[in-house]
């Protein structure tokens, strides 16, 4: 019984450490300048936010308003009760998307496509 407790404590500690490492690794990823907006699983719009100079409002469906400026994207308005996507704040890199579960909206970031880079250069 005691051994089993120790075994599980070891397994869980290892899992927590792995998760923390994963989260830290994600946060060090460089900024990714394009936001893909998905509504109910379909890509509705891609926004290149990195080059924006003025803040921009992007309505998504009926329930959400996304905001973007040159420093990141964030959810400004959501008509759901939990408001979690707003509390997620501004994102600019990493793998974590802005997710509004009740309205089935996700905003994921990615690097601009290779040919875009070519043009920019």
């Amino acid at each position: 019984m005691k051994n089993k407790n120790l075994l599980y404590i070891a397994v869980f500690s290892a899992a927590i450490i792995l998760c923390v490492i994963g989260i830290l690794a994600l946060q060090t990823r460089p900024a990714q300048g394009v936001a893909d907006i998905y509504l109910e699983g379909e890509l509705v719009r891609s926004v290149e936010w990195a080059s924006l100079e003025q803040p921009m409002e992007i309505p998504i469906g009926d329930g959400n308003i996304l905001c973007a400026d040159g420093e990141g994207v964030w959810m400004k308005h959501a008509d759901c009760p939990d408001q979690l996507c707003i509390k997620q704040g501004k994102i600019k890199g990493g793998a974590l998307s802005i997710v509004c579960l009740p309205n089935r909206v996700t905003v994921t970031l990615r690097a601009p496509k290779a040919e875009m880079d070519g043009v920019a250069r």
């Binding site: 019984m1 089993k4 407790n5 599980y8 869980f12 899992a15 927590i16 998760c19 923390v20 994963g22 989260i23 994600l26 998905y38 109910e40 699983g41 379909e42 009760p81 939990d82 979690l84 996507c85 509390k87 997620q88 704040g89 793998a95 974590l96 998307s97 997710v99 579960l101 009740p102 089935r104 909206v105 996700t106 994921t108």
Partner: protein, 163 residues
Amino acid sequence: MKARKMVLLAVLVAMGCGLFVLESAVPPIAAVPGLKLGLANIVTLLAMEWFGRKEAAMVLLCRILLTSLFAGQAVYFLYSIAGGIACYLVLCLFRGAPLWARSALAAIGHNVGQVTVAAVLTGSFSVYWLLLYLIIGAIISGSLIGVAAEMVTRRMKDFIKGD
């Protein structure tokens, strides 16, 4: 089913609903969708400990049906039921583990089930990254809830067996 057992199961369901309402009054700890204490899951654990798999399934289903009515949005039912089923399967799978560890494992199962539904509903697999945050939360809150269930079970042992 004996009246005594039925009443105890009904009390567990009622406790689960009460804990759910209590928990939704607590502001979220961090801005991670799906991160919750999961207090209500203690009743599934207790039903499993005190009676068995069949009774735990009944308590779980009744609780999810009732709390989904409270929550109001149909989509919450999908999340709860997916989380509940995954959590239940893990509980059945790890029968040999100490209760606190089983509880933590079940909490992880719960999160995996819910994130899977979120991935299907939003059509984006990037929500799986949330698991990095959710697993940490599941291990901590799941273990604590499991310890609480152990303590309750120890004190209630004689009462559950009947007088």
